[in-house]
């Protein structure tokens, strides 16, 4: 496959869109990058997955740091869930080479539809406190040493939000599953992790998205090295996508602060539905676009 300059630019634009949407809702953009590469550019799905994993790492690197600075990321919770996710990622990466592209596409579509339903049902059951003139966002952005609870200031709601984390075993199980899917499908696992944290563990949506953004990079590399070693990485495809994702993700992190959590969930759900339908067509062998 020969890539012209307009095609390389198109890859970067696709990456930017994926990065923007991913930063808004806490995913790495892989849910968008893989279908775009496969359906829009005719790339082999395993090469698309490898490129997507690289894009996920890029997105996590770009936006994860910003969210930490804003006090949204729960580092302890993210690391705890990452134990299960990295083990899952290794598992997924190892078994992916033995599974047919049709099965992978179908699995992708089913999971996106399930996630869509889950994320629309997510609410934010949190305790709110009134901000005093002596409290700043940075003072509130903290986690107790050894504990998973946290606090942050939401500029959209103009409130301090304190939350406790519940159902850790459930979150760990779902994180393992997210890791397997990461290795199989080339995603960061955020589309499982965000609902797992927000719905299952009662974490606020913005914290779930920020924490997921940080950890999906770690998840992605647990399977990326397997793909890299097996020659599925095509740098001239992966690089423009990754560069675009970084740009989109950085813009998305600033935009996310000004958007309501409900709107973020609706955007996420809409993306999942659109792409899931296309992947169903792909699995059925129906040509869409190119």
């Amino acid at each position: 496959m020969i890539l012209s300059i307009p095609l390389i630019i198109a890859l970067a634009v696709a990456g930017a869109l994926a990065g923007l949407l991913g930063a808004l809702v806490g995913i790495g953009g892989g849910l968008i990058v893989v279908p775009v590469l496969v359906l829009g550019f005719g790339v082999d799905i395993k090469i698309a997955i490898a490129s997507s994993l690289i894009a996920v790492v890029a997105s996590s690197t770009a936006s994860g740091s910003v969210y930490i600075g804003k006090g949204l990321t729960n580092l302890r919770l993210g690391m705890l869930l990452e134990v299960a996710t990295t083990i899952g990622g290794i598992t997924g990466g190892l078994i992916a080479v033995y599974i047919s592209p049709t099965v992978i596409s179908a699995l992708f579509a089913i999971l996106m539809m399930v996630t869509c339903v889950l994320i629309l049902k997510t609410k934010d059951p949190v305790k709110r406190t009134t901000m005093t003139e002596f409290q700043s966002a940075s003072e509130l952005a903290k986690e107790d040493v050894g504990k998973l609870s946290g606090s942050y200031y939401d500029p959209y709601l103009k409130e301090n939000i304190h939350y406790d984390v519940k159902n850790v075993p459930l979150g760990s199980f779902l994180s393992f599953f997210a890791g397997v899917l990461s290795g199989l499908l080339g995603v960061g696992g955020g589309f499982i992790k965000v609902p797992a944290m927000a719905l299952g563990m009662k974490v606020p949506m913005k914290v779930a998205a920020a924490t997921s953004n940080l950890m999906i990079g770690v998840t992605a590399i647990s399977s990326l090295f397997v793909y890299f070693a097996r020659g599925y990485v095509q740098p001239i495809i992966a690089a423009p996508v990754a560069l675009g994702v970084v740009g989109g993700a950085l813009y998305g992190t600033s935009l996310a602060q000004k958007v309501s959590p409900k709107l973020l969930r609706k955007i996420f759900a809409a993306i999942l539905v659109i792409v899931a339908v296309q992947m169903v067509f792909k699995a059925l062998g129906v040509s869409v676009g190119r």
Binding site: M1, I2, L3, S4, I5, I8, I47, I54, V57, A58, S60, T61, G64, L75, R76, M79, L80, E82, V83, T86, I87, G89, I90, G93, L94, V145, G146, L214, G217, V218, A220, I221, S222, S223, L224, F225, V226, Y227, F228, A229, R230, G231, Y232, V233, Q234, P235, I236, I237, A238, A239, P240, A242, L243, V246
Partner: protein
């Protein structure tokens, strides 16, 4: 990011824009085109960034004497090392 941009510029300026797969060990192969080598190393360095992040958190929690999470982050680092080893032996 810089290495990847340099690689793209080199490939586009030489007109060598063929999408070829590059396995990790091939990055050190002298026959690999300069543009692909720059792109490949850029990807490799980017891929190591999350691992560096985990190591940094381990150091931070060690300073806070949060031994529970030091242990948890060491488990994650171990899992990542295993994944690299599995990738290297693929």
């Amino acid at each position: 990011m810089i290495l990847m941009m340099m690689g793209l510029v080199v490939n586009m300026s030489t007109g060598y824009n063929e999408a070829v797969p590059v396995a990790m060990f091939e990055l050190f192969d002298e026959s690999l085109m300069l543009g692909d080598r720059l792109l490949g190393f850029g990807v490799l360095i980017l891929s190591l960034t999350p691992a560096i992040r985990v190591i940094t958190l381990t150091i931070l929690w060690t300073r806070e004497k949060d031994w529970k999470f030091v242990g948890i982050s060491i488990v994650v680092i171990t899992a990542l090392i295993i994944s690299v080893a599995l990738g290297g032996h693929a």
